[in-house]
Amino acid sequence: MNKQFALKCCKAAFVGLALLILYAPILLLAIYSFDKTNMIGKFEGFSLTHYAELFRNSKVLGMIGNTFLLAFLAAILSTLLGTLGAVGMYYSKKKAKMLIHGASQIPVINAEIVTALSLTVTFVAIGLGRSYFTLLIGHMVICTPFVVLSVMPKLKQMDNSLYEAALDLGASPLKALVTVVLPQIIPGVISGFMLAVTLSLDDYIVTMYTRPSGFETISTYVYNATTKGNAHTAVTLSSFWALTTIIFVVIVLIVLLSNLSSIRKKEAKR
């Protein structure tokens, strides 16, 4: 009995230690984001300077806006394209399905830098250069395959006879698709959309190469500020501490709320 208890403690300690290391950098920044000074190591006193700095700087607000608008646009377009693609592939002949699926997997397994290089070289070679359009296409290339991957399993689980029944009862194929097929795959579509948003928000490499000059997202801005020194940036690095803290808190809230609502739904079903 005692031995089992010791084993349990060991397991808990291992998982706990891993989590501690995982959260240490984030918690560190969260604590020092409320410090007066921008030196990590000494806590001089509570203040909201870094938050004020973050919200006062129009450049920073601009790049945050850019990041979210781009993620939203790329996710909407990717979800549309990917959902149509997945439905079309599901009903296609085996050979066509294999071909499209294979091509769709290329950006998934490929190194991001190779995707970025191939797109940029192509855009420049055909005279498109680098613009918001090429940036959007770049993000769609990395997001859409993941939408396809999350819609596909839902199509496979779907009850095919319902679609046939709808046709027999006089629905047009288009109507049957929208009213019968779509509701059955919608969870996959939603998770595909969410995935596309997070992939786009997270991206640095493709953004860096396909963006028009002067366009900054959180990733490119923070990367350049930290690796090339902050001489050319208007913000000190400490306002990124505040930004990290805000993003972390928002994520925790979203996860908590979605868990609460799903627990409530389960209880309501009972």
């Binding site: 989590l19 995982l22 190591g41 490929n110 290089l117 640095y204």
Partner: protein
């Protein structure tokens, strides 16, 4: 006149066209650039240069070593965690799993920046000054930190699928913990190991954000290499990209094809 009959297959035409223009053609363009010189004449100079330059080959060697170390450490940390969580009878174990995935939703660059600040703090402590110049250590730490969830999730999902009855049968037949582990858990979790390894190994060979931000620009990996050529010589850059492309396809093929990556990014939680 009636429109041609609507067919469900036609829905994939936009995506197929998109893939041809923005995935297939760019790949062909890379091949074209790799085997031409700056005047667009066919040339194998890049190819020969690449394989005869010791500095390039050593970068690739280092890059592979870093990726291997990262992958092994990830596996050594992730496997016990996935095993403990999958075998746990705790009711709310998904919350702990969620805790491992949660940091992934913070912007990647901000997360690496957080690790950077942690190292800055640590290196200011007495006796910890070595961290300041331990560029390889910091790079590997950052990569393990960032790619750990990609290892935990596939391992956890495959281990969860192992039938409970197998464990019961093994216990009934008198097998101890180690016999059960080596004859049931380990062999049946191989698909999870494979997909976890590909999900960690490839980015740690190419994602130079971590090595740039944590390694004081002293650690060069293959991805950084391509990006360095991006500025001046697209043909050489394409050559390295092509080599990387082939490595990626070979390793995906060797580890059992295109694994189900939809389980990996935390969508099915």
């Amino acid at each position: 006149m009636r429109l041609p009959r609507f067919s469900r297959k036609t829905l994939c035409i936009p995506y197929a066209v998109f893939l041809v223009f923005f995935v297939i053609i760019p790949m062909l363009v890379i091949v074209l650039f790799a085997f031409t010189d700056k005047e667009y004449h066919i040339s194998f100079d890049n190819f020969i240069h690449f394989f005869s330059d010791p500095s390039k080959l050593s970068t690739i060697f280092y890059s592979i070593v870093i990726a291997l170390i990262t992958t092994v450490i990830c596996l050594l940390i992730a496997y016990p965690i996935a095993y403990i969580l999958a075998r746990s009878t705790m009711k709310k174990k998904y919350i702990i799993l969620m805790l491992f995935v949660l940091p992934m939703w913070i912007n990647f660059v901000l997360r690496v920046n957080a690790i950077r600040e942690l190292f800055n703090l640590l290196s200011a402590l007495p006796g910890m000054e070595w961290i300041e110049s331990a560029n390889y250590f910091k790079t590997v730490f950052g990569m393990v930190y960032d790619f750990l969830p990609f290892m935990i999730l596939p391992l956890y999902t495959t281990m969860l699928k192992i039938e409970k009855s197998l464990y019961e049968a093994s216990a009934d037949l008198g097998a101890g913990w180690s016999a059960t582990f080596f004859r049931i858990t380990l062999p049946l979790s191989v698909p999870g190991i494979m997909s976890g390894v590909t999900m960690v190994f490839l980015p740690s060979m190419t994602n130079y954000v971590v090595s740039d931000m944590l390694g004081n620009a002293k650690v060069t990996i293959i991805g950084k290499f391509i990006s360095d050529y991006f500025g001046n010589d697209w043909h050489m850059g394409s050559m390295i990209a092509l080599v990387l492309l082939i490595v990626v396809f070979l390793s995906t093929w060797l580890t059992g094809g295109f694994s189900s990556e939809e389980n990996v990014r935390g969508t099915n939680l």
